[in-house]
Amino acid sequence: MKKIISIFSITLIILFSACNDDYMDRFPETSIGTENFFKSEEDLKMFIYNFYSFAGINNYGDDGYLTTDNSANTGSTELKNIMLSSNPSSATITEGWSWETLRDINLFLENFRNADISEDLLAHYEGLARFFRARFYMEKIKRFSDVPWYDQVIGTSDEELLFKSRDPRDMVVQKIFEDYEFASQNVKTDQPVGAVNKWVVLAYKARHALHEGTFRKYHSELELQSSANTYIQIAKDAAKEIMDNGGFSIYSTGNIQSDYSSLFNSQNLTSNPEIIFANSSEDEVKNSGWWEWMFGNYEVSPSKDLLQAYLMSDGSYYSSQVSPETNSFVEEFENRDPRLKQTYAFPGWELINTGTYAQGGGIYKQQLQKNFTGYHQIKGFINSTDQTTQNGVDFPSIRFAEMLLIYAEAKAELGELSQGDLDNSINKLRERAGMPNLNMDPVIDPVQEARFPNVKSNSQWKEILEIRRERRIEMALEGYRYDDLMRWEAGKILETEPRGLYFSGLGKYDMTGDGVEDIVLLDLSESIPGAGDKEVNSIGETLIYYRVGAQDSDGSFYISGDNQGYIESVKERGNFVAPKYYYRPIPQTHTTVNPNLTQIFGWE
């Protein structure tokens, strides 16, 4: 028995002797801890890439997806749903309250000084991080107005920070522009192609300052009008610095039919003098894809309203035509600003890339369908079947043209605009497009005037109207229209349902501009003939038949009047409740977690 006990004891001693030694310590080998990172410039650079996020190909749909007067949209979009809803609330609007990026930026700012590099370089990297923080907060401000400001990493037990309430917009915006100021002072100009440099920082600074300044000016509910000019001034100065020192210019080879459109289907924008930042792509390295949905009635379609905003080629207003509202599709495109035919599919345009929602290639006959305007977008459309080409399209995320528009608008808003300013900005765009110059004290276009009744308090309101038009045309369908309408306090415009093509009655129409009829509109009571019974036109093509009717009929598409009128795309756009709908509520799930977050502007 003794032996048994001793053997047992020995076993036990062996067993318990080596329990918590390094055998039990296992550490990751293919990932790295923060204590070993942020040591070199390379580390800082690699972390900064996490924050890169710039406009890309999908922006070509954003005038529709964000809901503007430039596009109709059948998809589910936030503002459309709000406007149509009987009771939009923080329970149903659930986007936008995410904060990951901010944490990562603040984590960088708390650690980057560990890197053993010069003060000068440290300042550059601090500037980059603060630039991204400013951008992050600007998006929050646009959506929620007052938001809590954090410039440090929050821990799980930092109760006070976690549960704090909103900070006032003014305070947060001051912080944002402190960041922009630091960044524009310290971020270097000579950076690799595709990396953020000083000009990118300044461009965002100008864009966001103009937004904030004009937003304050036209939104009295903020009670910040007195400081509006401060930010408009910042916008003007930032744009001016880029104009004076950035070395950029408007891309123009003298070819007014294609210089403009070539910015939107280019395989390489990085060396283009107009590009401040390009979201570049290269086949098999970073495939851009392309915006295939823009064709063939998928969800968005450009509106008649945008088409009518283009000037005539002699600089006169489309509204001054004899019967602007009842022009046929072919007539609408005659003698217009050349940018129109570089933006809209026009009579006689040839569809080559059929890998879309459109049916068939060749000389394009507008495919008409209920709920769509019938217009189609070619700005940004890659009309090529070559996959390498489709994969390698660059997107102009920041164009110098926008800086010129910012400069002109800021000057006009400040009441400082001169003919020299116009020549240095708007007229450079006009020149590239082959359009006459814009001069001071322009004639009033009643349509444009009606659109923005609130500009008249400005001394240079006539110029502002035309600068706004130029901005709409030059930047059409690039995704900026929504922000513009919001800052100009023009939400009411969105209540108008976008319209499509006009037809003066039943019968045959030419769609390709060759004088030969291509389509036939039939009354609802008629039926479309069978395949063999369809009429063939003089050039041997079978006519395309449509039955037309009112909304909710079983017609091929809906038309506003009795067998004549506009194509109706959207049944109803709903109501824009101001100022409430210029803002969004904090989603309810988050106000429940932190009751100190209260809703503003009537949101619940």
């Binding site: 039990m24 809590p148 929050i154 369908q369």
Partner: protein
């Protein structure tokens, strides 16, 4: 062919095969001559009374008889055979005939199951002395089933050993669970094969024929000795050893033919398909599907006159391209056919004085459901097991296993694609090239688009030593195992050719090659000593031991685009972009454990188990935990007061146990194991923006970690009883348990999102599972036509339910777990049929349910019961204010059962096995059920043709329709339909599946709630063993032929749409098809 016809044909074919086999062997029996006769009486050694019904068998044959009422028998025998006398409850006796003609036998009573030994952790125990909840499974239950994975054989054989397969894919690993919901982080039982931990993939590498014993340890006390990873039970698998003197050789094989169990029932008529599809989008604002008149005219022709109308033609409007009008359900083109599988197993075993050995080799080749390309799983396996006893006190041994598994399939194989093909699609152009359609492209991709080859080689060797001291009272065991596994995984994509038009065949697709390798090294070391002694009425067993394990897994991969040649698709011969990556993970555990077992007077049993365990997955401060347990049992049948009824109650034992165990398994949101969850780490990846023409590297931000990060503890209380009646002919075991999983690792308090990171996991939630399990066994034998008829049946039934008992969700938000929530509860709306009139649509506001905010609510739209009567149908956010939502069902499987019936008689053996789930709700949310209601891109299911149609078509439209369309009633009004108005996107689940996100029919509702309960005839096996007198002539000990059918038939409400087992996952039936398998095989023992 409809389903009934199909089943009938299968049944006929199957029956036919059985009959052929039987006829052959019956003839063989008849040819069998008899030489000698022996008679005698069999009496009980206990009371010396004759015993009727005793089986008397000539050993090694199936020739035998049964004693009559007076215990007498009379049998024709060879002169030098051995007679075997057996009777339930008696010890079997063998007597050499040696020329005798009269043999009287006295059978000794066998104390019920007394000698039956069960494998438990680090030892064995007599079944009668168990105090925990342990199930022993006889490997005979698996014999001759055409399965390649042991888990398939374990499905439904032990109560609350819950085995699910999410698909019928060859080489698919099972999901194994013991006793229901374990933790919100998941938690599988610990599986040990010959004492070495294995996962379900490892189980896949085990040859089922090598298995001899399986034990399932269910409660805390029986599992406690494995502490660290045994919180959710243990499955112990022991492989065969040489147990018989001399040299024995056996060969088994099995050839099987299989085809999918159930495939979706799709529309095959092109006119109906196109018209219904267009109708579905006509009713939406997008209206994006519009077929031309020409298309309809062709579809009508093809529908009305399928033989006389072509399915492919040159497009009349564009002579450079083909145009198609198929008319079949293409799923069957790819999947429905018998594929052939086979398996072979050979074993050599035996023992001498000092040596025991078992050698086996096996080959399995399981073909999947795909019929047009290779889609298979192969396994090669060799096992060598040798024990040597150089001294009386010492035995050393080695157990080595080498396996190679291979999964080969087309790179492009995706079941989704096969299920979603439109009937109007087509396979080949007139020039023989693949059609420019879904079917043509899919077929081209599967055949020419490249292959995946995934090979895994595993070599495992265990060295064991056992030293015995003091006449065996003290044993010291030690073993060391090393397992080296490596995967050799490769795939490539090559371009394939599609015919776009006459003279226009294009090569499309990508071409790249990929290869990865994994090196797994696993070390296990155990040492333990056991002291066991009986002093008078005291029986004591004590065990103490130590265990340590570590595992290291290294993975890297390389990929390169731009393969030069499709015939040599390798990285070496590629010129494009390349990608490489690497991942290394490791972990270690270490523990010491003990067991104390004390039995007094064979009646009172007490046991203590405990383990002190540590894991590298937790920080050093919280790394170790102590997990104790205790159990007790009372063998009432041994008490004196039971004597008077012992002839009725042969076994009566009650048991109870309580224990606490740890769970160290942590998984991330994607279900991948987390090894370093307490260390914030940063990982490199490629950035998304081109800088200087390249995508630079970036390093991701670190995740948040918590200080509160340690073991989940799992405590189980268990009560059980074993009752055997009539010498255990009828035996019942019942257990009831409660399991509390505490401190589950989950996000702690719901913190404001300004935190900016996912809340770290910490020990913050509890759940409770209550359940019970029952097994009933009845076995008997009697005389049938002079031969012994042995009958054996086993029925098992189990149930469990689980609730969240702690979770930080004070508002009881429905998007998160909340206290009191039962697992599986399904929130939804109560159906109120359809809106019938426009007035009705205006009276009740359902706008919040409109998918994409855009569909129109019209008559025929689903209508819901307005529970709160406010005139608006809304779904609330919290349990306390759910508005019109309520719990409408529960998706957890309840009442799992299995029934095994077997008998043997005169060389025949028959076994049937039925398995199922008696209660489970299922709400369909996918294409396979909703077809065009989901989205107009896939589907077209026959059941959906019963949709709401407000009016009949006009005469003009009628003239356009095909006869089939009119015959199907699709042109008529259908106000009393099963399905609502046909709007595409009405059941779109892309908006989310949460109660609040989901819209339209994607929100669960009572009208379409299905029962996923099922009953399935899992297996029927019929075997016949040739008479020994015949086989001995050619020196063969035994020859048995058998036919077997797997997944023969099933009944379930969901089986109208998909296999009932395919909804165990969230896959909504989109699973690789389950297989019906018919097989034929032979067992030969030399």
């Amino acid at each position: 062919m409809n389903k009934n016809q199909f089943q009938k044909i299968i049944l006929e074919k199957f029956t036919y095969r059985i009959v052929i086999v039987l006829i052959i062997f019956l003839n063989v029996i008849a040819a069998n001559a008899q030489e000698n006769r022996v008679n005698g009486t069999v009496k009980s050694g206990h009371d010396n009374l004759p015993i009727p019904g005793v089986s008397v068998l000539i050993k090694g044959t199936t020739t035998g008889t049964v004693t009559n009422q007076d215990g007498e028998y009379n049998i024709a025998t060879p002169t030098d055979g051995i007679l075997v006398f057996s009777f339930i409850g008696m010890k079997t006796q063998e007597i050499t005939i040696n020329g005798q003609t009269n043999i009287n036998v006295s059978l000794e009573e066998e104390t019920t199951g007394l000698d039956e030994v069960v494998i438990v952790g680090y030892g064995v125990q007599k079944k009668v002395n168990l105090s925990g909840a342990v199930d022993a499974i006889d490997s005979k239950e698996l014999e001759s089933r055409p399965i390649t994975n042991l888990a398939q054989g374990l499905q439904g054989v032990a109560p609350n050993l819950n085995i699910d397969f999410v698909s019928g894919e060859p080489g698919q690993a099972a999901r194994i669970n013991i006793r229901g919901v374990t933790s919100i982080n998941g938690g599988e039982p610990l599986i040990l094969i010959d004492g070495v931990p294995a996962d379900t993939w490892e189980l896949n590498r085990l040859t089922p024929e090598d298995v001899s014993d399986i034990s399932v340890l269910k409660d805390a006390s029986s599992a406690a000795i494995y502490g660290a990873r045994a919180a959710f039970g243990v499955v112990l698998i022991t492989t065969k050893s040489g147990t018989r003197e001399g040299l024995h050789v056996s060969y088994n094989n099995n050839m099987s033919w299989s085809k999918p169990t159930l495939l979706p029932n799709k529309i095959s008529d092109p006119y109906i398909y196109n018209r219904v599809l267009e109708t579905s989008t006509d009713n939406t604002p997008w209206d994006n599907i519009n077929f031309s008149d020409d298309t309809y005219a062709w579809a009508k022709e093809r529908s009305d006159n399928p033989e006389g109308t072509v399915g492919v033609r040159v497009n009349p409007n564009d002579p450079t391209s083909w145009e198609y009008m198929g008319n079949r359900d293409w799923t069957y083109y790819f999947l429905d056919d018998y594929t052939y599988s086979q398996k072979h197993h050979i074993q050599i075993d035996g023992k001498t004085n000092k040596t025991r050995y078992y050698l086996s080799g096996s080959y399995d080749n399981e073909n999947g459901a795909l019929k047009i390309a290779d889609d298979l799983f192969k396994r090669y396996s060799i096992r060598s097991k040798v024990d040597f006893t150089p001294f009386k006190w010492l035995t050393v041994g080695n157990n080595t296993l080498m396996t190679m598994t291979e999964r080969r399939e087309p790179s492009y194989l995706d079941i989704w694609d096969l299920y979603n093909l439109a009937p109007t699609s087509y396979d080949k152009n007139p020039d023989g090239s693949w059609a420019n359609t879904g079917v043509g492209q899919e077929a081209a991709r599967l055949l020419d688009g490249g292959d995946v080859d995934n090979r895994y080689n595993s070599t495992q060797s265990t060295f064991t030593a056992e030293a015995r001291f003091f006449d065996g009272a003290l044993k010291v065991n030690s073993d060391y195992t090393i397992r080296k596994g490596n995967s050799n995984y490769s795939y490539y994509y090559s371009k394939y050719k599609i015919g776009y038009g006459p003279e226009d065949v294009r090569e499309i697709g990508s071409n790249s090659a990929y290869r990865s390798a994994t090196f797994d090294t696993y070390n296990v070391f155990n040492i333990y000593s056991t002291f066991s002694k009986t002093f008078n009425k005291h029986q004591v067993t004590a065990l103490v031991g130590f265990n340590q394990e570590n595992n290291r897994s290294e993975w890297f991969n390389a990929q390169r685009d731009g393969v030069i040649s499709g015939s040599l698709p390798t990285i070496a011969l590629a010129t494009g972009e390349d990608y490489v990556d690497e991942r290394i993970t490791d972990w270690a555990i270490r523990g010491t454990f003990f067991r104390l077992n004390y039995i007094f007077n064979e009646r009172y049993i007490v046991e203590f188990n405990g383990r002190y365990d540590g894991t590298s997955k937790f920080p050093s401060e919280t790394r170790f935990g102590f997990f104790p347990s205790t159990s007790a049992a009372w063998r009432i049948d041994r008490e004196n007061f039971m004597r008077p009824i012992e002839h009725i109650v042969s076994t009566f034992k009650v048991r109870g146990s309580y224990g606490s165990l740890g769970n160290q398994n942590v998984y991330d949101d994607n279900g991948n194991p987390v090894y370093y969850g307490y260390i914030p780490t940063m990982n490199p990846s490629q950035a998304e923006y081109l800088v200087d023409g390249e995508l630079p590297q970036r390093v991701s931000p670190p995740q948040l970690v918590s200080d509160n990060y340690s073991w989940e503890t799992v405590s189980t209380v268990n009560f059980g009883a074993d009752v055997g009646l009539f010498k255990d002919k009828l035996f019942a075991a019942f257990d009831i348990y409660q399991r509390n999983t505490k401190n589950m690792l989950t996000i702690g308090r719901d913190l404001p999102d300004v935190l900016g990171a996912a809340e770290p996991k910490e020990n913050a939630a509890d759940l409770q599972t209550n359940g019970w399990e029952l097994s009933l066994t009845y076995k008997n034998n009697f005389n049938l036509a002079g031969k012994s008829f042995n009958f054996n049946t086993r029925f098992i039934l189990s149930d469990s339910r689980s609730w969240i008992t702690d979770f930080d969700n004070p508002n009881k938000n429905l998007s998160q777990y909340y206290i009191g929530q039962e697992f599986g509860e399904l929130w939804g709306l109560e159906s109120d049929g359809f809106y019938k009139t426009v007035e009705e649509t205006q009276a009740l506001d359902e706008t919040q349910l409109i998918p994409w905010g855009a569909l129109s609510i019209v008559p025929g739209w689903p209508k819901y019961v307005d529970q709160d009567g406010n005139g608006i149908i809304e779904k609330g956010y919290t349990v306390d204010d759910p508005k019109d939502a309520q719990i409408i069902g529960n998706t957890s499987p309840r009442f799992r059962y299995g029934l095994n019936l077997s008998f043997d008689w005169n060389g025949f053996d028959v076994r049937t096995f039925v398995q199922g789930i008696a209660k489970k709700d299922y709400y369909p949310r996918h294409y396979l059920y909703w077809g065009f209601y989901q989205q107009p891109y896939a589907g077209g299911y026959e059941h959906l043709m019963d949709f709401y149609r407000p009016t009949a078509d006009s005469d003009v439209d009628m003239a356009k329709h095909s006869q089939a369309y009119i015959d199907a009633g699709l042109a008529d009004a259908n106000l009393d339909s099963q399905y609502p108005v046909l709007q595409a996107w009405l059941a779109d689940r892309n908006l989310g599946e949460g109660l609040n996100d989901s819209k339209g029919l994607a929100t669960p509702q009572t009208g379409y709630l299905l029962s996923a309960a099922y009953i399935r005839i899992k297996n029927i096996t019929v075997g016949y063993t040739l008479p020994k007198t015949l086989t001995q002539k050619i020196n063969i000990e035994r020859v048995r032929f058998f036919v077997s059918g797997e997944n023969i038939a099933e009944w379930s409400e969901v089986s109208d749409y998909f296999d009932p087992e395919a909804v165990t996952d969230d896959g909504h039936g989109y699973a690789y098809p389950f297989q019906r398998r018919y097989s034929f095989g032979v067992n030969i023992d030399f």
